[in-house]
Amino acid sequence: MGSPIWVLLGTDPAHQTAIVSTDEILKCRNLRKTFGDLVAVDDVSFTITAGETYGLLGPNGAGKTTTISMIAGILARDGGDVSVCDRPHGTSSAWGKRRIGYVPQDLALYPDLSARENLRFFARLYALGRAEARTRIEEVLEVVGLTDRAKDPVKDYSGGMKRRLNIGVGLLHRPPLLILDEPTAGVDPQSRNAILESVAALTGEGVAVLYTTHYMEEAERLCDRIGIIDLGRIRAEGARRELVALVGELDRITLTADGTRPVPELEALPEVREVGVQEGRLDVMVADARSALPRVLAAATEAGLVVRAVEVHEPNLESVFLHLTGKALRD
């Protein structure tokens, strides 16, 4: 992937969507969906504000796609409410749909049509005027790096090119809310990185992003807040650190040093909860390793330890998920 997609929104105020009458772009309350006896989504509630990336993290079959399908107006809900930019939203709400950019997990493109024809079709479907559509199409093609291949049928594109175009379609009409359903599924590491950078840049432009993934690293890197979803229910919600704190696990700073011994100076630090001494190694347990690390190193040095190596172990969302659901994220 060439340049990131943030330029799509542009810096020209005329091209910015007049969205934000409120900071709360999306509000879901008690969403519920059943398929026969199966409760796919149960009592799911969350909000997303402008410029925020909210991640729905859960394994396959957890209810992520069903949840966003109800939010996108694709699927009728059995219960609960959705509002977009403070207005009630549903399957027949054209107003709300114009304010949502939906990027499905599948490559939702017409393979026999070219990139430009695909973009033109969706631009007109979102009621962009001819002139505006023409401008936006060229902008999107430029940004996703497909200008040179714009006339080629999509079926001749590589997987990465299709994935980029798939995201580009979702951004054509400059939506204030972007829903990305596992946008990096099956994407090579380079393209994945570019997509993540682009999403981060979009939030910088004020776009609210709902991002579903079962990749823990993506959620940790990208999302301001994360909802951990399993069996159709949100098990926990918050910023990464809040979720980790919820579980009660501590960060661990491991100091490899000569002549290890108990170090009272370390134990005296307010950040330090516990110090374990083993042969050639000290395990210092803290709430936030990144902020505590400089003081821990300074205290160890003052105590006369010759520190040869430092390792930081932060509990990740994988362990949080395991703690909350009793199973691994990729089960």
């Binding site: 027949s92 749909k97 997990q105 493109l109 024809e117």
Partner: protein
């Protein structure tokens, strides 16, 4: 361009790209018309078979037969006449393949008829042309019945002069022949039948493409767009209708040019074609909503198209299939389409075929309504 036309245009563009539109709208109808023209050219020649006439009598009754029975049939292009001086010459014409059958009117034929004595009209048929022989014999049978009528009339009146006999109304076979002309010719009937049969395959892609979109993931994107769901469904239907009308129009024009088929007044035929396309689209849409995948839909649609085609008299005229099938055929759009074309056929045919057209529109309305209802449920699930 509104969303409905936008969706239909996109579907058609896809069909142009994968060449299926070209195939369905041009190649298939042209191909069918060309095949029909080759297959039915022989049949058409049989329909205007040459009959030899050897009139060795030349009196009133013989002239009545040749001038008032055979000559009108020739003018109506049911047959061509060729005069033979003798029976042997007539036989030679048949032997050389220059006539399918021959009438031999022996000397004294008229006098025998008028005097109430047995009279013989010989019909010589070509064993290799059973249809021609059958037609020749049927005409002779009809004439013989009329001769009997003349004899009875004269007997009742206690005899009569040859002039009186000649004044007796001529055999009235024209009325039956007029009725026959309201039917399609064999070539036209098969052309129309196969055309309406293929029409069901032509229009099937329209609504079924919703299943393609669902398989490819684009349906979710369409549903997420600010477009009413009914618009998406009607856009799909419209693309099928457009291709169906194009295909049928090409077929009608091509069969007229290549086969010399005369389908009737363009307005009536146009309305009938549109109604037929709508009915076919509705039926195929309904079948598609029962399926879970594109393959399943295509298989189901093929089965339904063949079954309806058989019942509707595409392959075997339903009149030959028994009373039950005649009744069942009323449940098929094929029957009404063919009936409509037959109604519009002929020199004195009406401009419109209202009953068949309305019946087809009824099929379209009912099947489309059910299909849309089922689709709505499917999309809500």
């Amino acid at each position: 361009m509104g969303p409905l036309l936008l969706i239909a245009a996109k579907d058609l563009r896809q069909r142009v790209r994968d060449r299926s539109l070209f195939l369905l709208a041009l190649v298939v109808p042209f191909g069918l018309a060309a095949i029909f023209s080759v297959v039915f050219s022989g049949v058409d020649r049989q329909e205007t078979a040459t009959f030899a006439v050897a009139d060795q009598d030349g009196e009133q009754i013989a002239r009545t037969f040749t001038e008032q029975v055979l000559a009108p049939l020739e003018r109506q292009r049911v047959l061509r006449l060729r005069t033979a001086a003798t029976e042997q010459e007539a036989r030679d014409l048949i032997a050389r393949g220059q006539a399918r059958a021959a009438y031999v009117i022996p000397a004294g034929f008229s006098r025998a008829v008028l005097s109430g004595r047995p009279a013989t009209l010989r019909v010589i048929g070509d064993a290799n042309a059973p249809i021609g022989s059958f037609v020749a014999r049927s005409v002779a049978d009809a004439f013989a019945a009329e001769v009997r009528y003349v004899q009875v009339a004269l007997a009742v009146r206690g005899g009569g002069s040859p002039q009186e006999a000649a004044a007796v109304p001529a055999p009235v076979t024209l009325e039956d022949l007029t009725a026959e002309r309201r039917q399609l010719s064999l070539a036209e009937s098969f052309s129309a039948g196969i055309a309406v049969f293929f029409l069901f395959f032509t229009v099937q892609f329209g609504f079924s493409s919703i299943l393609d979109e669902r398989r490819d993931g684009t349906l979710a994107r369409l549903l997420a767009a600010p477009v009413p769901r009914a618009t998406i469904a009607f856009g799909k239907l419209l693309s099928g209708v457009v291709v169906g009308v194009m295909s049928m129009t090409v077929l009608v024009i091509a069969s007229s040019l290549l086969l010399g088929a005369r389908w009737g007044h363009p307005l009536g035929v146009g309305l009938l074609v549109v109604a037929g396309v709508l009915a076919a689209t509705g039926v195929m849409a309904l079948v598609a909503t029962v399926a879970r995948s594109t393959d399943q839909a295509q298989n189901g649609q093929a089965v339904v198209a063949v079954l309806l085609g058989v019942l509707g008299g595409v392959f075997i005229p339903f009149q030959q299939m028994g009373e039950v099938f005649v009744t069942l055929s009323l449940l098929t759009p094929h029957r009404w389409f063919l009936q409509g074309l037959a109604d519009l056929h002929g020199e004195h045919a009406p401009v419109l075929a209202p009953v068949p057209t309305l019946a087809l529109l009824g099929f379209a309305a009912v099947t489309t309504a059910i299909a849309l209802t089922r689709l709505g449920r499917m999309l809500r699930a």
